[in-house]
């Protein structure tokens, strides 16, 4: 598969009387963009706010972060199975509005989480502080059912991002990068056959309300482990329905810009032979875990991998899937590195994962989510601070009278991301 990504750099967002990208500035006329959002009977109110890097702004509670993209050439549309018809994406040309994101915010459940600070200490912990964010703030109607409203809010974000992405259809990219993935036959070619065969195992959270991920519109808990093209992921084949655990969930933006995929493609044909991507789920039912990890190891063996990188999503129960995947791969003779994060207590002295095995001997950490931090007061809040005391990692009294917040690192969206899309690490 060959995909050309045309990056259009966005240097600012402003409101105006039309929707367009003009010399790197996204001009937003809210009314036509909000009309389809408000047509959903579950969404009572919706409005846009703009947050730029360095501004004294706190966005919370964040649901999803999405990068606007548009398919210019090739099969399918962005977010296939969700907002475009089901068709195999990942080839042709896709334009990307780089340097910005559509952020969805607003209440779904009372303990919902996710803070993006655009300046100060908090900004250092989230990559999304570096983006120009168009924030879609939504409120549900009275008496809503959480499951239905999560879907409404998820689709509103994806549709808005697709509509913004559409503005880039006829623009000339500032930079073009071509990503090409090999067929299995090509991975045995003369130039590649002497390089170590490396695969990427991407674990997708799939446990229920607020813990779900969708692949071409399919709820990931209802699939077996399977193969997906690296470039399919870039076109939005995988989207987030996950609102729990801000620090280590994968937003849709993470999937679109998966750093493991980008880095493996960057060294493919040089130091490694990047054979393919296996996606696998993280279900509640233990036999599902056993079956999915068996399947992962079976496919890795089928692909004749020498080594694998496994990225996790979430905490607790997914630790079991992570260790199952790792040990089963290792027992096939496949050298395996896992990417996770830690809940090691505020002093960092407790065991980091809820599961462990001696075969999990190569670990990359995204950081300790229990670390206590103090976020200074911001001049402006997008969303509401009413949830700060209740979100994961916050606690009673975490919102101080002066507007500062004392909380664990896990309140910050993307802070300890387990794809490694963050700024923290340790040796």
């Amino acid at each position: 598969m060959k995909l050309e990504l045309g990056y259009i750099d966005i240097r600012g967002i402003r409101f105006g009387d039309h929707n367009a990208v003009e010399e790197g500035i996204l001009v937003v006329n809210p009314e036509p963009l909000l009309k389809p959002v408000l047509e959903d009977p579950l969404i009572k109110t919706a409005h846009f706010e703009i947050a730029a890097p360095g501004e004294s702004i706190r966005i919370t509670p964040v649901k999803d972060v999405i990068e606007p993209r548009v398919k210019v050439e090739g099969k399918g549309g962005v977010f296939p199975g969700m907002v475009s018809k089901v068709d195999t994406v990942g080839s042709g040309k896709t334009n990307v509005l780089r340097g910005m994101a559509v952020v969805t915010a607003g209440p779904i459940v009372g303990f919902q989480e996710g803070i993006i600070d655009m300046t100060g200490v908090g900004a250092d912990y989230t990559p999304f502080s570096q983006l120009h964010n168009l924030v879609l703030v939504m409120e549900p109607v009275e008496g809503f059912v959480q499951r239905e409203y999560e879907k409404a809010a998820r689709l509103a974000g994806l549709r808005t991002a697709a509509a913004i992405g559409e503005l880039a259809r006829n623009l000339t990219p500032d930079e073009t990068v071509v990503y090409e993935t090999p067929t299995i036959a090509e991975t045995f070619s003369e130039e590649l056959k002497n390089l170590p065969r490396v695969g990427y195992v991407m674990m997708l959270q799939s446990q229920g309300l607020l813990h779900d991920t969708y692949v071409y519109g399919v709820d990931a808990k209802r699939t077996l482990s399977t193969l997906i093209g690296a470039t399919e992921v870039m076109d939005g084949a995988i989207v987030s329905g996950n609102c729990v655990s801000a620090c280590d969930k994968n937003t849709t933006y993470h999937h679109q810009n998966n750093p493991v995929i980008h880095d493996l493609l960057a060294v493919h044909g040089q130091s490694i032979n990047f054979v393919g991507v296996i996606i696998t789920n993280e279900n509640v039912y233990l036999d599902d875990k056993i079956r999915s990890s068996d399947w992962t190891a079976k496919m890795a063996q089928y692909l004749s991998l020498d080594a694998a990188i496994v990225s996790q999503e979430g905490f607790g129960n997914p630790d079991t899937d992570l260790i199952m995947n790792c040990t089963k791969l290792e027992k096939q003779g496949i050298r395996t590195v896992i990417i996770t994060d830690e809940y090691a207590g505020q002093d960092g002295r407790s065991q980091s994962l809820a599961d462990a095995d001696a075969l999990a001997n190569a670990v990359v950490t995204g950081g300790n989510a229990n670390e206590l931090i103090i976020l200074p007061r911001m001049d402006r809040v997008i969303g509401t601070l009413g949830y700060v005391d209740k979100i994961a990692g916050g606690h009673a009294g975490s919102l101080q009278p002066d507007g500062s917040i004392q909380a664990e690192l896990q309140v910050i969206t993307g802070a300890t991301n387990e794809m490694g899309f963050n700024r923290l690490s340790a040796r």
Binding site: Q207, L209, N283, L286, G316, A354, D389, H395
Partner: protein, 150 residues
């Protein structure tokens, strides 16, 4: 697979609904008890803590029942949500399942440790925690029903 049920009120306050299905759900979540006990066997520990749910499950495992769902069911942290629902086999196996025992013991270590953390639970969000816990255990039902008795 499911046929006939009746309820018991025990002296310890546990409410049990007996079914002939291949699994049972141990929970301290009243919403799970209300929503699922009509269709499935539910062992409801009224006003029980998450740890008490785990202890009950651990005891069942020692009595040769097999653990069917991950005891740490979602990414809502144990020091936030007071609710926990765990599925175990209805019938005992021929021997204690070592994997089940290992998983419940590891989960209990996390729970024991978590009590050192700051609490986030507030009455205003109690129902939301119940809903998410219900959703997590419901997500296991299609698999549990498809597999049946092993």
């Amino acid at each position: 697979m499911i046929s006939g049920s009746f309820r018991l009120k025990t002296l310890s306050g546990e409410r049990e609904t007996l079914h002939t299905g291949s699994f049972q759900i141990v929970t301290n979540n009243p919403l799970v008890a209300d929503s699922l006990s009509g269709r499935y066997r539910v062992c409801f520990l009224k006003n029980g803590s998450d740890r008490e749910v785990m202890v009950k499950v651990r005891d069942l495992i020692h009595r040769r029942h097999r653990l069917l769902t991950a005891p740490l069911s979602g990414s809502v942290k144990p020091w936030e949500t007071p609710y926990r629902s765990i599925m175990v086999s209805s019938d005992p196996c021929s021997a204690v399942d070592a994997t089940s025992l290992d998983l419940i013991e590891r989960a209990m270590e996390v729970i024991n440790r978590s009590h050192n953390y700051l609490k986030t639970t507030k009455p205003s969000i109690d129902h939301d925690f119940q809903i998410v816990d219900l959703s997590l255990i419901e997500s296991a039902l299609p698999s549990a029903e498809a597999i049946g008795r092993i």
